[in-house]
């Protein structure tokens, strides 16, 4: 009862004209920043942070939260339209979103992405309101042992992403793991595989890698196929064709809800974040969805699962931030810095000491979510026009975006060199049918797995038994064994059956 009263009070705070305006501006900025490859939510929030010090704390935080949130919307736009993920979680959105755009249905993909983001965000915030602090406590129980087990489950499910040729998929995965080992050793802090170059000391930079392997490789591809006409009639790209049919609406609701629940939970876990949320949600849909096996060919369900997972994880990440003062993500860390600068101290006492602010922030997340949805849907007609641009114009424009994005990631030309290099790598991978998504996911998840796994062994003094001694990890390991063993068993049983059949005939 208290919660509801406090929340209503929070809405009173959030819905002042100033704050509403701040949320709307934040939403628009967030979408723009999110759509620009290379400037993720982390940099977006960090760059805007000093600006908001001129506001009062509630308004400032509302604006920053809206930016953070809207980023997730924007990140998927460039993934869908030009196949360059604006941020990491959008890699999963692009898997189905870009094929949809290529089939002449970019509007549907964008629309689905917006609706699923909205559902994900809403579910995430509702869970945050009701059981946020409790959930944050539960998330704490995921130490190195549990996280290592969870990531093992995630890594093995990469298998469903491998595409037509498992061998090529495994090669791509291993390549990703290999590249991720460059840079500092996560546990000992010593440089590994830096080949004596100070640039490689920090490892392969992620943003130039993504932009190159997805974006610039396309430019090379377009140059090669420059006279190839588009597969669809560009006159058909109207707002009406972008609307989802009633049937499509019905198809995206279940995956969105499922993914929202999973995503929120993943977001609460320490250090997991929106990428893992989007990734596991997509995998869940692939396994549980009715047409799961068709995912990756341009299905609205795929877009919905990835986006709902990603946005709900972003909301879930607020739980540890607010109730424990511990950021669940890099962007969370910046927001925490912001809270401190405003003179607020997130921690176990925040809800008691500063209820007006805390509930104002939570209420503003609701407001920001609705405002962002409105803004996001209104810009769809402009967005889909991008696909009407002739290839001869697209090539220089995408190249410019690639160059600027990879430069701004670390403010250095080295980023551009890496981007060009990975552009060539990506081009040949695509040409010879090596899937790119497993490479990227292995690159992202690999180091986290390595670190947690090694820390788990440090805790147990080298004994693997620890994975079975802790209840959460024991359950995860059991799940892992089932998923790995079941296809083998099924195949063996299947073979037997055909054999007996053959004999009886």
């Amino acid at each position: 009862m208290d919660t509801i009263q406090l929340l209503l009070g929070g809405f009173g705070t959030a819905l002042s004209v100033n704050n509403f305006f701040a949320a709307a501006v934040g939403a628009l900025l967030g979408i723009l920043v999110g759509a620009m490859p290379g400037i993720g939510s982390l940099a977006g929030v960090a760059l805007l942070l000093p600006l908001t010090f001129k506001f009062n704390p509630v308004t400032g935080m509302i604006m920053l939260s809206a930016v953070y949130y809207a980023n997730m919307y924007g990140g998927s736009y460039s993934a869908i339209l030009i196949n360059i993920p604006g941020d990491t979680p959008a890699v999963m959105t692009g898997l189905d979103g870009h094929p949809l755009a290529q089939q002449g249905k970019p509007g549907k993909a964008l629309f689905t992405s917006n609706i699923a983001s909205f559902i994900g965000g809403t579910v995430g915030i509702i869970i945050l309101t009701v059981i946020g602090p409790g959930l944050a406590r539960f998330g704490l129980r995921f130490g190195p042992v549990e996280m290592a087990a969870l990531l093992l489950v995630a890594m093995t499910s990469l298998g469903w992403l491998l595409g037509d040729s498992p061998t090529k998929g495994i090669v791509a995965t291993l390549l990703g793991i290999l590249m991720a080992t460059m840079g500092f050793d996560a546990v000992l802090g010593t440089p590994r595989y830096d080949f004596g170059s100070i640039y490689l000391l920090g490892g392969v930079p992620f943003i130039p890698l993504v932009i190159g392997i997805f974006g610039f490789s396309q430019v090379i591809e377009m140059m090669e196929l420059r006279n190839k006409p588009r597969d669809f009639d560009t006159d058909k790209l109207t707002l009406r064709d972008s609307m989802l049919s009633r049937d499509e609406f019905r198809r995206i609701i279940p995956p969105s809800l499922r993914s929202s629940l999973l995503g929120t939970f993943i977001g609460v876990l320490p250090g997991a974040g929106a990428t893992t949320g989007a990734f596991l949600s997509y995998m869940q849909e692939k396994r549980l969805g009715r047409d799961g096996h068709l995912l990756g060919t341009g299905r609205v369900e795929g877009v919905a699962a990835a986006e709902a997972g990603n946005n709900s994880a972003a909301a879930g990440a607020f739980a540890p931030l607010l109730s424990l003062g511990i950021p669940g993500s890099g962007t969370g860390a910046v927001l925490l810095g912001g809270l401190l600068m405003y003179g607020l101290n997130p921690g176990p006492l925040l809800f008691q000491n500063q209820p007006e602010f805390t509930w104002g922030l939570i209420a503003s997340l609701y407001v920001a979510n609705i405002v962002t949805l409105g803004v996001a849907i209104m810009i769809i007609p402009w967005l889909i026009k991008i696909l009407k641009v002739p290839v001869s114009v697209m090539i220089p424009v995408i190249t410019t975006i690639c160059v600027m994005g990879s430069y701004s990631a670390n403010n250095s030309l080295y980023g551009i060199v890496m981007m060009l290099f990975f552009g060539v790598v990506g081009f040949f991978m695509k040409k010879y049918g090596y899937p790119i998504a497993p490479l990227l996911l292995a690159f992202v998840l690999g180091p986290t797995l390595e670190k947690n796994f090694r820390q788990a062994l440090q805790i147990s003094d080298g004994s693997l038994a620890i994975f079975l001694q802790r209840p959460i990890s024991a359950v995860l390991v059991a799940f892992l064994l089932i998923t790995v063993v079941s296809p083998i068993v099924r195949r063996a049983v299947g073979k037997n059956k055909t054999k007996t059949k053959g004999e009886s005939v």
């Binding site: 960090a46 130490g143 190195p144 996560a186 000391l201 320490p270 950021p327 114009v393 424009v397 820390q455």
Partner: protein, 316 residues
């Protein structure tokens, strides 16, 4: 079509502007900045170094200490190595400065093969200290329990962040002994998550990062690694009191390129000397992040940083 062309041209033009950083010629009147100042920060936006840098810049602006704009350049390639090397080679007559803590000096010395001669120290601004924390219900009721466990050969799992926290854990292993396992986290926040979740028994933290958790009684202070005790709520015996020679300071400082003209060095040193006198610095920064005022002008900063360099060289 024409509009598109125009747009493309605009995009390319702005891109060219962004990249046109170019080398700028030397000027004789270096005793005062006559163009934009580029301030390098080799950590990500939002972290401790970035808050430190942003705070100083805002105070400089508010107090009108420098007429020109100060722009932060976050250069995080190669764990900061690239930014450090770039600054050390700049000849911009005092228009380039770098945020430089001992967390930056250590990799410079131990991994990148550089030393302080690559830079010109401008000031030491503040020092910070480390403290060991345990959960409220920890079996280590007093500092002595912890020491006894280790000296009795017991196994203790400790966590903390990188850099100085690793140094401290090594120092404890050397001086106290025992089977001390140290889990490195990327940040103090991650390490605090581990201790709240029960994965580790003791955590190394700085007061600022753990203030709320300690005030709320979730964690309690065990032993301070500083010269004297911290104030409440971090009041706990120091290693010195317990008879161990363990004392580590962490400093936050600022340096310029190797070839910075002396006039510029004095100018900046003086500007930072005025920054630390403002109320905003004392209350809004040092007070909030529980740092100790330790301003040293350029000449004393050189000696102070040199001591750390010697320490890092010795422990290689």
């Amino acid at each position: 079509m024409r509009r598109l062309f125009l747009a493309t041209v605009l995009v390319i033009a702005s891109a060219t502007l962004v990249f046109a950083t170019g080398e700028v010629e030397m000027s004789d009147e270096a005793w005062m900045p006559d163009r934009n100042v580029e301030w390098y920060c080799t950590s990500s936006p939002g972290g401790g170094s970035s808050i430190f840098t942003q705070t100083i810049i805002e105070i400089i602006k508010d107090e009108g200490l420098v007429d020109q704009e100060l722009l932060i350049n976050y250069k995080t390639d190669g764990g900061g190595a690239v930014g450090r090397r770039e600054v050390s080679r700049k000849s911009t007559a005092g228009h380039t400065i770098l945020t430089f803590n001992n967390g930056d000096l250590q990799p410079l010395v131990q991994i990148e093969g550089g030393d302080l001669d690559d830079f010109t120290p401008l000031a030491v601004m503040a020092t910070d200290g480390q403290i060991l924390l345990v959960p409220a219900d920890s079996e280590f009721e007093t500092a002595q329990d912890f020491i006894d466990t280790l000296q009795g050969g017991g196994r203790v799992i400790m966590g903390g962040s990188k850099g100085d926290d690793i140094n401290l854990s090594n120092k404890i292993r050397e001086e106290v002994g025992g089977d001390l396992e140290y889990l490195v986290s990327d940040s103090t926040g991650d390490a605090l998550t581990q201790i709240l979740g029960g994965s580790i028994e003791v955590v190394i933290a700085k007061p600022a990062a753990s203030f709320e958790l300690v005030s709320a009684g979730e964690l309690r202070p065990l032993i301070a690694a500083t010269r004297s005790r911290f104030g409440e709520p971090f009041d706990a015996p120091t290693f010195k009191e317990l008879g161990f020679d363990i004392e580590l300071n962490v400093y936050r400082g600022i340096v310029g390129p190797k070839e910075m003209p002396q006039e510029a060095v004095e100018f900046w040193s003086d500007v930072f000397g005025r920054v630390v006198k403002t109320e905003r610095w004392q209350e809004g920064y040092l007070g909030r992040f529980l740092l100790t005022d330790a301003y040293l002008p350029w000449d004393e900063a050189i000696e102070y940083m040199q001591e750390f360099e010697d320490l890092y060289t010795a422990s290689m």
